[in-house]
């Protein structure tokens, strides 16, 4: 059943760019990776970071700099960007995991704002104008100029990231994270080095957020302040919650719907987009807390349960 769903999604992903505007799809995929990375932290470790934009945009700036100013190949720039995001994640993580709940969120937000101001003021980032005109170049010999080619490269990147995150969640390491989420004191009393697990989860999440930011930079040829702004950190929270916290596919569904909505609404609704997003968020929190995927799964299980119940008796 599960494999069938994934196979269908894989086929849809491979065929879709021939029918839908590929740039929009690429944007969705980038945000899907971002939300999956975020979900690893929020959904599976119970840590609400409010500073993930720093990794997303920071890595985009770093690899943009590597490509544009140092003229390094795209492959090197991607690796460099991901490493920089992991390093940033490590630095932020060390400081933030000492605190819990709202304090954790505030520490991550504060540190992310510092990254924002570095991006605003540093001479190499272009300030308000952003880092523009970053060439797409080529990847493993494939020229990325064509939107379709780039789409398949990014689609592959997405599958890779998704599989690694999936594997992480289902590994013993992931089980420990869930244990920490459910009851931190018990995890400590069982002898787990909780801060170490939290830090590692934070670093992995930051690295993949950075990976998403780099891919987005490659699609649009620029890195701007929007990518490091705290709005971006908020957007990814919304996508994850809307899709379903702690579900594997939730972030993918959430980001697809939110990005498509934004795309459709910007022309007709203009400034109202933020208001509409806010309303969606409120409705989501009040009515279906498990998110779209979470509620669907629950509904499916309830239906299954009802059918199965007499047999069990």
């Amino acid at each position: 059943m599960r494999i069938a769903i994934y196979l269908i999604l894989l086929i849809i992903g491979a065929v879709l760019p021939h029918f839908v505007y590929p740039v929009l799809l690429m944007k969705i995929l980038c945000f899907a990776i971002f939300a999956c990375a975020f979900n690893l932290l929020l959904g599976f470790s119970g840590l609400l970071s409010f500073g993930h934009a720093a990794f997303f945009g920071g890595a985009a700036y770093v690899s943009g700099y590597l490509i544009k100013n140092l003229e390094l190949p795209t492959e090197v720039a991607i690796i460099g960007g991901v490493l920089s995001a992991a390093l940033m994640g490590w630095l932020v993580g060390i400081l933030a995991i000492r605190r819990q709940g709202i304090y954790f969120a505030m520490v991550t937000l504060a540190l992310a704002q510092m990254v924002y101001f570095i991006c605003l003021e540093a001479p190499i980032t272009g300030g308000e104008d952003g880092m523009q005109g970053i060439p797409r170049g080529s990847f493993l010999g494939l020229s990325l100029k064509d939107d379709l080619t780039l789409y398949y490269v990014i689609f592959t990147g997405f599958i890779l990231a998704f599989l690694i995150i999936y594997r992480t969640i289902h590994s013993p390491f992931g089980q420990v994270l869930k244990a920490i989420r459910e009851n931190e004191s018990r995890a400590i009393s069982l002898g787990y080095d909780v801060p170490k697990y939290k830090l590692l989860a934070f670093v992995i999440s930051a690295a993949f957020a950075g990976f998403a930011g780099i891919l987005k930079m490659l699609v649009f040829n620029f890195a701007t302040l929007t990518d490091v702004h705290w709005h971006m950190s908020g957007d990814v929270v919304l996508m994850t919650i809307f899709g379903g916290i702690g579900t594997i596919l939730g972030p993918v569904v959430g980001s697809s719907i939110i990005i498509t909505l934004e795309d459709q609404l910007t022309d007709s609704a203009g400034d109202m987009v933020t208001v509409i997003m806010g309303v969606i968020f409120v409705v989501c929190v009040l009515i279906f807390r498990k998110g779209i995927v979470g509620e669907s799964v629950a509904l499916y299980q309830r239906m299954l349960g009802r059918k199965n119940l007499p047999q069990v008796k």
Binding site: Y21, N221, T224, D227
Partner: protein, 407 residues
């Protein structure tokens, strides 16, 4: 037999297709539709002098063009808000070129937006006519062959105004600069003019764009002791600077020189606080019978007089459509060549033509804001002091750093 038949059929089909393609090439206007995109600031700090007014001006230009030429092709227009952000602009421009088959994008009111749209246009080989933004970078280091900078630039307005103020005795300057490409261009261009005219720049401070609260920056400017505080910003930032300078008692001890000010800004602030200011403009509604005629028509729709950007959009769209009409093509290179070849003389521009760096040069005007007592009727705000001829108003090609300029 079956096989042969199939072969025959495919040959027929191929030749039909080839014919179809040939016919398409003859018509030369893709889908027989010329689509213009107005990408502007609908809600932000620059919406007052571009925004919906630019959309209206574009619509007026299209309907006037249709009445005058009865073109065989259809003209469509779409508009959107670029929120003055690079990413939103690129994203939108890319979508418009890819999905909406837009042939030309105009307005683009912040320099950040202008520069990012130009890059996308170059990649997609489509035309961009910037009537809103004015960083001189657009026609220098950042220039390309698909872009026209139509209305003003920081060189023209900064230079013109700074020269006039130094001449009036404002020798020492301090800059209040919007911290992005446009503000810095404006400061650099004005600084050159001030030094040439024998003035002195004591320092500058950059403020985030856009800013509601400029008090700390204004106090720095006040502490500098400069005679003139040069406002290297625009729109709401300029309005806030002028209002807050009065509140903090910066003025009238020190003078303000707005290096780019629009009639809409003067209208918002009022003559009391803006009187006596010098400004350089490409358009003033009350200058000639033609400008008045256009502006009154515009006023009937918008209930405001047009700014130079809004009047400029009309002129730019008209010039573009006339080039399409003349060549019978919407091909980027053909239209650009025609636009650069044809001089522009309409209610808006006198002695206008587009140079190889994309700069549309035309006569600009040095104006001074009237005293409240001199203003006789609504929107009677400016006194035109002098005409700055096209060759003097804009940066000479010899100083240009645009690679397209052959030296």
């Amino acid at each position: 037999m079956m096989l042969k038949n199939n072969k025959l059929r495919s040959v027929c089909l191929a030749s039909l297709l080839a014919l179809g393609i040939q016919q398409g090439a003859q018509a030369q206007i893709s889908d027989n539709v010329v689509k213009i995109g107005v990408l502007t600031d609908m809600s932000g700090p620059y919406s007052d002098f571009s925004g919906k007014g630019s959309v209206t001006a574009t619509q007026m230009a299209i309907s006037d063009f249709e009445k005058k030429y009865h073109p065989k092709f259809k003209i469509e227009m779409i508009s959107a808000d670029h929120q003055d952000k690079a990413d939103i602009t690129s994203d939108k421009a890319r979508q418009w070129f890819d999905r909406e088959h837009v042939d030309m994008i105009t307005d683009l009111v912040s320099s950040t937006a202008g520069l990012s749209a130009m890059k996308v246009a170059k990649e997609k080989n489509k035309i961009v006519i910037i009537t809103g933004a004015g960083s001189s970078k657009i026609t220098n280091a950042g220039c390309n062959d698909v872009t026209v900078l139509y209305v003003y630039d920081t060189y023209a307005t900064g230079q013109g105004t700074a020269k006039a103020v130094v001449k009036q005795g404002g020798k020492t300057w301090f800059f209040l600069t919007a911290d992005y490409v446009f503000g810095h261009s404006l400061e650099t261009d004005a600084t050159k003019a001030i030094k040439l005219a024998g003035g002195q720049v004591l320092g500058s401070v950059s403020h985030p764009f856009p800013s509601r609260d400029l008090s700390s920056y204004l106090l720095k400017a006040q502490a500098s002791g400069a005679q003139v505080i040069g406002l290297a910003n625009a729109g709401d930032d300029t309005i806030n600077s002028i209002k807050q300078a009065a509140e903090f008692g910066v003025t009238p001890k020190q003078h303000l020189a707005a290096l780019l000010i629009f009639i809409s800004d003067v209208h918002s602030v009022g003559l009391k606080q803006t009187q006596g200011m010098y400004l350089t403009t490409g358009f003033y509604w009350d200058r000639t019978p033609e400008t008045r005629a256009f502006s009154k028509r515009y006023f009937n729709v918008m209930q405001k007089m047009p700014s130079m950007n809004q009047a400029g959009v009309y002129s730019a769209v008209m010039h573009y459509l006339e080039a399409v009409q003349a060549t019978g093509s919407d091909d980027t290179k053909t239209v650009m060549t025609e636009m650069k070849k044809t001089p522009i003389n309409d209610f808006y521009a006198h002695n206008g033509h587009i140079r190889e760096d994309g700069r549309m040069v035309y006569d600009m005007y040095l104006a001074q804001v009237k005293k409240p007592s001199e203003s006789k009727y609504p929107w009677d705000y400016y006194q035109i002091l002098a005409t700055i001829p096209a060759e003097e108003a804009f940066q000479p090609l010899s100083e240009s750093t645009c690679p397209l300029v052959k030296k």
